[in-house]
Symmetry: C2
Subunit: 198 residues, 2 copies
């Protein structure tokens, strides 16, 4: 290649990030090299600070700046209601929706394609948590896709014996959507999950 | 937002990069926070090294680790043949194609939409170069799109008086393409630019 070595190396580094192909990587590199030095400096500092200040919660495996995380150390939370999610990003999403229970982050989902099994998730830690304290309800909140549904099914078998009521988040038409514009599988979910109004 | 402050800050920093929306930015952030520490460290180092070692060539405005750049300081180059390009990335691309002349990097193209005029490009530096030495041929190699063609047209007017022969890179069917699969404007270019074989 005819590019300066340090430029080439930055392109290679960006290309290691998920979803960043060679063209995007080149674009990011030349942008950083030509923009105000503060843009690059601020990015570098943000990476270093975030790496240094975040840790995985030893109780729920959420990503936070404290361990136990903000949710686990919040005494006002309903410990009887546990939401099991795939990823710390799901915790952020449910927090914004106003959920006030506690979480367990699986750190992934079962995927035979990617060779990820139940043993690769934080399931044994979940068993230890449940051995100490069983919530009245465990809501399986893995994604409503093929792998998320499969993971929920496997979790149901694993958790059935604890005596907690085990539920699954609802599938249906997303709020704000138009019926004529959502897929037929969403409409089928909406009919399947219909609820009495009176 | 319910995310840790340092995570939020990294997401904001990634989102400042061109073409990186909020979802991509979140994905990059969580990837860097959970991957091997060396991935983040190597990226940080690559950004710092590339920022520290690259500079803009004071002659042709190419981006390189030396000033004058590798091309401008190469005595074996044909200084009679100057390729005028929009961007340092174009220099890399033409270098790989085997071009052995010299360059002038405009650092952009005229765009009325973005409010970029001729005065925002490195045109006065090009006039100074030409006052010192006029190449026998100046090839306008701005992109074959609306703004690149417009910029080439304006440059033609600006450079006509120097006595150099001014040419434009060829438009036509890209090597390796199939005639039935390229657009009609590419085919029209190919007919317009036809050349005698004997």
């Amino acid at each position: 290649m005819s590019r300066p070595k340090s430029v080439e190396r930055l392109i290679e580094n960006f290309a290691r990030l998920p979803g960043v192909g060679p063209k995007t990587s080149e674009r990011l590199t030349y942008f950083l090299l030509r923009s105000d030095p503060n843009v690059a400096r601020s990015l570098v500092e943000a990476i270093e600070t975030a790496r240094a200040s975040t840790r995985v919660c030893s109780q729920c495996f959420n990503l936070d700046e404290s361990d136990p995380c903000t949710v686990c150390s919040d005494a006002s939370r309903d410990r009887g209601l546990m939401l099991v999610v795939e990823d710390p990003r799901d915790v952020s999403a449910f927090e914004e929706s106003g959920f006030r229970g506690i979480y367990h982050v699986l750190q992934g989902r079962v995927s035979s394609l990617e060779g990820i099994g139940l043993g690769d998730l934080t399931l044994s830690a979940l068993h230890r948590r449940l051995a100490a304290e069983v919530p009245r309800e465990i809501v399986l909140a893995t994604n409503p896709d093929l792998e998320g549904e499969g993971t929920a099914q496997l979790l149901l078998e694993q958790l059935a014996s604890y005596g907690a009521s085990i539920t699954r988040i609802a599938r249906g038409i997303p709020a704000g959507a138009t019926i004529t514009q959502v897929s037929k599988s969403i409409l089928a979910d909406a009919i399947d999950g219909r609820r009495p109004l009176a």
